[in-house]
Symmetry: C2
Subunit: 576 residues, 2 copies
């Protein structure tokens, strides 16, 4: 049994169907984007009854394949107005796969102003009122749900931001310790969930039956080769487990590409104070765990646990992008405060990249001074409180720019940029500009090749070859997101040929197919084409595939470079 669950929030009814032929062979991002592109009017209100919210584990979900438990969330984005897929770790993805569920599609909008929860299990799909959860953050929500439904479930929820339908609202997923610390963060899909009155989903994997594996032996053999590659590559076997993604702070700072004080410099004088090495040292001093996986089946285990000075849990290790967003980008060098802001964002349910940028733009607009740590924390907490200032910030960096008259706003398609200045890492600048998702490093992580020299070596400061690099990576990423694999498998995949072959072999063994490597590339292209098709019908043209003006006119220290990849090169990215 492998099925799609439909949840109609207007009628408060549920149903299940076989996977229609149009959606066959798709999972994760490929499936969410296919459903949104086919079923949602691109001109609808993102927070209205005609948008849909789709949850889909990947093609390899629910198997013993390492790092295959990611879950994709899709919808029309309240932030960009285009199609959106945001994916997350945590337990729910694997659990849905184990229940034989390819996707949950949330449709309609309740007639009454009430909150609901959805209970999913073996032969169970039930909508219940959940008004008692109103106004709660994700941590309190999960605590309450845990009391009622127990520790052996996966919880999906929104915080206050999702209830308020703010454009930076995220969807939270619990990790193995049932902390709502993993998020489908980008693009405001929490607001879509909020608009549908859906506060939480409880996933009970007990007794579930995953889709069968066509050739178990072949599958097992391929998973071993894949895991071996993950354990061999230095990034996935050493860097990430010990230092988390935050290892990048010093790397990117050294490269002169660490956006500082709202993208006004590429170096932060106190970078090391917030880098992965400091994070590791502090964690060990405080008797915490530097090596922790965010989901079952993870062999990389980059997520760590952040403890305060008293040894109490604060949050998972903030990701590099989060440390950067609230740290260097706001002129802040206090890791404890950054971890508190990470926790606050997870609790309120907002994207940390969008929120850190929102705070930095507010600082540029004079709301607070750069470096005002207490001020930044106050701003984040205003979002949860739903004050007018909080609602501006919760609208994302673009909304803050408009409210406070700031023209230097680092957004593409109104989505804020992550932690790599596109002037000094031009490959990822191409990805920011052209990805159908808006500015998103994960859509085509050219940082790997530009800076870490993984998968080749393209000088980050030159404009040539970046479009091709970004194009190839965007295609590969769309396939990886469709498989449900953690993006960090890309490091071994780019460097170790057998890692990629193992993925192809696993897909073939699971589904009884005989795909080639080219077919996987074609799959990635197909996903991108569906996404660009939606965006075109929503009204996007090549003018939306551009960086904000100031990246072309203001030189970034220390390299004193502008973003000079031509419009023609940008427009070549999807020439396939």
């Amino acid at each position: 049994m492998f099925k799609i669950i439909r949840v109609n929030m207007t009628e408060l009814s549920t149903s299940s169907e076989e996977i229609p032929s149009d959606y066959q062979g798709l999972g994760g991002r490929g499936l969410t984007s296919a459903i949104i592109n086919k079923e949602v009017d691109p001109t609808c209100s993102p927070i209205g009854a005609n948008n849909k919210l789709v949850f889909a584990p990947g093609l390899l979900g629910g198997t013993n394949c390492a790092n295959s438990g990611r879950i994709s969330v899709g919808g029309k984005s309240p932030l960009t107005g285009g199609i959106k897929e945001a994916n997350s770790g945590g337990q729910a993805g694997g659990y849905l796969s184990k229940l034989g569920i390819a996707a949950i599609v949330i449709e309609g909008m309740p007639k009454e102003d009430k909150l609901y929860k959805l209970l999913i299990g073996k032969d169970k799909c039930e909508i219940k009122e959940a008004n008692e959860l109103k106004g709660m953050g994700n941590y309190a929500t999960v605590d309450r749900l845990k009391d009622e439904y127990g520790l052996d479930k996966g919880y999906i929820s929104i915080g206050q931001a999702g209830e308020m339908k703010l454009a930076s609202a995220s969807v939270a997923f619990t990790d193995r310790e049932l902390r709502p610390a993993r998020h489908a963060g980008r693009g405001g899909l929490g607001a879509v969930m909020g608009s549908k009155g859906l506060k939480a989903i409880v996933v009970d994997p007990a007794g579930g039956e995953a889709a069968p594996i066509a050739d178990k032996e072949a599958f097992k053999a391929a998973t071993k080769r894949f895991a071996k590659a993950l354990m061999e590559h230095p990034v996935t076997s050493e860097g990430l487990p010990n230092y988390g993604t935050d290892i990048l702070i010093n790397v990117i700072n050294e490269a002169g590409a660490l956006p500082t004080r709202n993208f006004s410099s590429g170096r932060f004088e106190n970078a090391d104070k917030v880098g992965g090495e400091t994070l590791n040292k502090l964690t060990i001093e405080r008797k915490g765990d530097p090596t922790h996986g965010c989901m079952s089946g993870c062999v990389i285990r980059c997520s760590g646990i952040y403890l305060d000075a008293k040894g109490q849990y604060v949050s998972k290790w903030p990701e590099y992008e989060t440390v950067w967003a609230f740290g260097p980008n706001c002129g802040i060098d206090d890791l404890d405060a950054i971890a508190r802001m990470d926790r606050a964002c997870d609790d309120i349910g907002v994207d940390t990249i969008e929120t850190g940028n929102a705070v930095a733009v507010a600082m540029e607009g004079g709301v607070k001074e750069f470096g005002d740590t207490a001020g930044a924390e106050q701003l984040v907490n205003e979002i949860g409180a739903g004050t007018p200032l909080g609602r501006i910030l919760g609208g994302g960096a673009g909304a803050v720019g408009k409210a406070f008259g700031v023209s230097r706003v680092p957004v593409v398609k109104n989505q804020a940029m992550p932690a790599y200045d596109p002037r000094a890492v031009k490959g990822v600048g191409v990805t920011y500009a052209t990805s159908p998702m808006g500015a998103d490093h994960t859509a085509g992580y050219a940082v790997a090749t530009n800076i870490m020299k993984v998968g080749g070596d393209v000088n980050p400061l030159q404009s040539e070859h970046q479009a091709k690099l970004s194009s190839d990576l965007q295609v590969a990423t769309a396939a990886i997101d469709t498989a449900g694999l953690c993006l960090f498998v890309a490091f071994p995949v780019l460097d170790i040929p057998d890692a990629f072959n193992a993925i192809v072999d696993m897909v073939n063994a699971k589904y009884g197919l005989s795909l080639t490597g080219d077919d996987i590339g074609a799959l990635g292209q197909r996903v991108l084409k569906m996404e660009n098709d939606f965006n075109a019908r929503a009204g996007f043209t090549s003018a939306a595939n551009r960086l904000p003006e100031f990246f072309r006119t203001e030189k970034l220290p220390p390299h004193d470079v502008v973003f000079d990849v031509s419009n023609e090169q940008l427009d070549s990215v999807f020439d396939f």
Copy 2:
């Protein structure tokens, strides 16, 4: 001498030039749109150094032609992201024409955070610091400038909203009594002026020399025929002088097209309490003047003077659209309060249509209750105070919708709709959808033909023939706006053939041309093509030429109609 003045706010320098050949034969909107389309990068930040702000009186400005003193303001709109022309009455347009100035083009952005004023006169164009005006509303600004420069000038200024660069900020023009009560309201051009650090322009017409009239006798004869038509048509000779534009309240309510409580009904139960008949009666009771022209040379004189219960000046008569925006659309029936909000908007410098819609959307979002008059006044005043809530409201109806999670937001291209529900006046619905300006009744006032049966009779509730009607009116309006004529001349022009011929004859006599009526149509088409070209390069597609979803799905009482003009019909509007 007939020239273009350039003001460089980066260098704080000014220069003057002959009109380049590309801009010959254009004035008003035609000239502002030509300059913006040719000289401004459509992808620039609207509040950055590369946008320009253009002031241009019309082709017939500075003459004895009745109602020819309108002034157009153009730029890339902070509200829509597209091209914008907003025009206004007041004295400055005629004064600039009398100085032989075809356009003032404000460029660049000051290096220092200072405010400036621009002094324009015969052989004079001077930038001076004006930090003493910082934070002042338009009324206080003009009072201060009057003290310094006297009563025989025209003043152009921005209030606090323009200084804050809010997307609904307007540009104020003084009327004959030196009240800053006439506004180029729509699209946030006050924010562009604010971004350039320009608080005010003082126009001294003394000693000026207008462009010569090629055939004075022919011109004089044509002006007489034109004025005669204005004095013959009942709308311009009776309705508007006695009741102002607010005469429309009862007319549009009767038609079931008066948007009530954020476009949820087409009838307001207390419409008559805020209609033109009541306004006239109240004004006479309070010994005010119902018949007052907003600029020299006006023979219609619809602007009136609103006095409070003690006989003190509050504002000019609020326009119909203003009365509607703060009245029926907010469930409010208190004319005194509406006049105070009109005054507050003029003082703060925000568009009344955008602001009234912003308040109504905030009411739908639960910020205040519909009908809460004191609450509405408080919200308007928050904008001037620059509170976070005020900044949300000052960002316009779209920004309020995003901040408060409202999906029923009546905007096109992010500009809020005026006082005619497009479901019950479908011709103006086509104009809202397709005008390059965003939702704008003045861009093609199909209400005339749909409701008042001026210029023909097209049933407002049917979908047929509306696209052609809107197209014809948009072309004619672009020409009228280029001539610098008050839009209300359209009533006689549509009904009395000689009124149109007189306009053609005036243009020919002034410029020594031999244009035909068809040439005037071609001029209007040329203007629209330039505007659509800019918008296309800014990234607009036909998806931007659509009404919000709810107009197609929610039936409007009392006629229970939806907007059902097809996308194909909408896309046919610019087939010329």
